[in-house]
C-alpha cells in the first residue's frame, strides 16, 4: 500500500511539474508546494455514504420500480379491464340476439343522424308504418292503372284508401287538393270512373292539407 501511495505521489509531482513547465514557471518551489497542498485536499478515505447512497451501493437491494409502477397505474389497469370486459359482453349479446342488433343500429342511427333530416324521416316512417293500410291502396292504384275495366268495382275501395295524400307528399303544400288529377289518370283510361274517384277523395284529402297551410300561414 505504501508503494502505491508513493507512486501516486510521484505521479502527482510529475503532473505538477508538467503544469509548471507548460506555463514557464518551473523554478517556483513555493508554488509547487502550494499545488501539493491543493492536491492534499483529497481525503484518504471515502466519506460515509448517506442512507440513499448506501441503498444504491448495497448490491442486494430489490428494485421497487415495478411495484411502484403497478401502484401508480392500478386505477388505469382496472378501468381498462372493466371496459374490455364490458365490450366483450356487449359483443356476445349482439352476436346472440338479432333484435338487440336492430335496436342498437336504430338508436345509433338516430343518435348520429343530422338534426335536419329527422323531421323528413318521420313521414317516411309514417308511410312505412301504415304499410298494411297502404298496401291495398297501392294495389288499387296499380290495378286501376293496369286493369281499367275491372277497376270499376274496386275503385270505391281505392277512394276510401285515400291514396293521394301519401303519394302526393302534399301535407306541406296547400295546393294538394289539386292533386286529384293524379287520380284523374284513371279517367284517361275510362271516362266513367272519373266522377267516382274525386268524390271519396274529397272528404279525406282536404282534412290533412288544410291544417298545414294554416300552420304555415301563421
Amino acid at each position: 500500500m505504501t508503494g502505491k501511495h508513493n507512486s501516486h505521489h510521484f505521479e502527482q509531482d510529475l503532473r505538477i511539474e508538467e503544469m509548471l513547465l507548460e506555463s514557464g514557471l518551473e523554478n517556483s518551489d513555493s508554488l509547487h508546494e502550494s499545488l501539493q497542498e491543493l492536491h492534499a485536499l483529497t481525503t484518504a478515505e471515502a466519506p460515509e455514504p448517506g442512507p440513499e447512497l448506501a441503498a444504491l451501493l448495497s448490491p442486494q437491494v430489490p428494485s421497487l420500480g415495478s411495484r411502484r409502477w403497478k401502484k401508480r397505474h392500478r386505477t388505469a389497469v382496472i378501468s381498462a379491464t372493466v371496459i374490455g370486459a364490458m365490450g366483450l359482453g356487449a359483443g356476445a349479446v349482439a352476436a346472440a340476439n338479432e333484435d338487440f342488433r336492430e335496436t342498437v343500429g336504430h338508436t345509433v342511427g338516430v343518435l348520429f343522424q343530422p338534426s335536419g333530416t329527422i323531421p323528413q324521416e318521420s313521414p317516411a316512417t309514417e308511410s312505412s308504418a301504415p304499410s298494411p293500410t297502404d298496401l291495398p291502396t297501392n294495389r288499387t292504384q296499380d290495378n286501376s292503372a293496369t286493369v281499367p275495366a275491372p277497376a270499376g268495382p274496386s275503385a270505391p275501395a281505392g277512394g276510401e284508401a285515400t291514396v293521394s295524400p301519401p303519394t302526393g307528399t302534399g301535407p306541406r303544400h296547400p295546393l294538394q287538393p289539386v292533386e286529384p288529377p293524379k287520380i284523374g289518370e284513371a279517367p284517361i283510361v275510362d271516362g266513367k270512373t272519373l266522377p267516382v274517384l274525386p268524390s271519396p277523395a274529397k272528404p279525406s284529402v282536404p282534412g290533412l292539407p288544410t291544417e298545414t297551410p294554416g300552420k304555415t300561414g301563421e
Partner: protein
C-alpha cells in the same frame, strides 16, 4: 490515499452492475470531496453524496474506461457546483456588521484575507477568478488532463491552457506575497 479501481470493478460498474458501484465510490469519492472542499462549498459531503446518487444509476451509458468515468463524474460535480453557486447567489447572507472585518480600511485586501484566514491554499484560491480556480482544481485535485478539463468546462484546449497559465502566475504572486508578509 483513495482505493484503486480494478478492471473487474470498473467493467462491472460500467455494465450497470451494482456490485461495482461501491468500488467506484471508494475510488473516486475522495477526489470529488476534495474538489468541493477546494471550491469552498459549505457542505462538501452532501454535494458529494448528491453527485454519486445521480451518477451511479447512469454508469451503464458511460464509455472510455476509467478516464471516461472520471470525466463523467466530474462533469456532474461541476454542474452541481454551478447549481450550488446560483442557489447561493439567490439566497441573501445576513450578518452583523463588524468593523474589524471591514476590508475597506485595510491597505491590501489580499493581505487582510491572508492574515485573517491563515493563508491556506483554499483561501489563496478564492483570490483567483472563478474559471482560473476551476482549471487548477480540476487539473490537480480531480487529476484530469487539459482535454478532459476543456470538455467539462466547454472550452477549447488552448483556452484552458491559457487559463491555467494565468492562474499559476497569479497564484505564484500570491504565494510570494504571503511569504514576504510572513517573514
Amino acid at each position: 490515499m483513495a482505493a484503486l479501481l480494478t478492471d473487474e470493478d470498473l467493467s462491472a460498474a460500467l455494465a450497470g452492475d451494482p456490485s461495482g458501484f461501491s468500488a467506484v465510490y471508494r475510488a473516486l469519492s475522495p477526489a470529488v470531496l476534495g474538489y468541493f472542499r477546494a471550491r469552498g462549498a459549505d457542505d462538501p459531503e452532501a454535494l458529494t453524496q448528491d453527485v454519486f446518487v445521480d451518477v451511479l444509476p447512469k454508469l451503464c451509458g458511460v464509455s472510455g474506461g476509467e478516464k471516461g468515468l472520471r470525466t463523467f463524474i466530474f462533469s456532474v460535480a461541476h454542474a452541481r457546483l454551478v447549481d450550488y453557486r446560483r442557489r447561493e447567489a439567490r439566497t441573501p447572507i445576513l450578518g452583523e456588521y463588524d468593523p474589524l472585518d471591514d476590508g475597506r480600511r485595510s491597505a491590501s485586501a489580499e493581505e487582510h484575507l491572508i492574515d485573517s484566514l491563515g493563508g491556506g491554499i483554499t483561501e489563496l484560491l478564492q483570490l483567483l477568478n472563478d474559471e482560473q480556480r476551476e482549471v487548477l482544481v480540476l487539473r490537480i485535485v480531480a487529476d484530469l488532463s487539459i482535454e478532459q478539463v476543456a470538455g467539462i468546462m466547454d472550452k477549447s484546449t488552448g483556452a484552458v491552457k491559457q487559463l491555467q497559465r494565468r492562474a499559476l502566475v497569479a497564484l505564484r504572486e500570491l504565494v510570494t506575497e504571503k511569504d514576504y508578509t510572513a517573514s
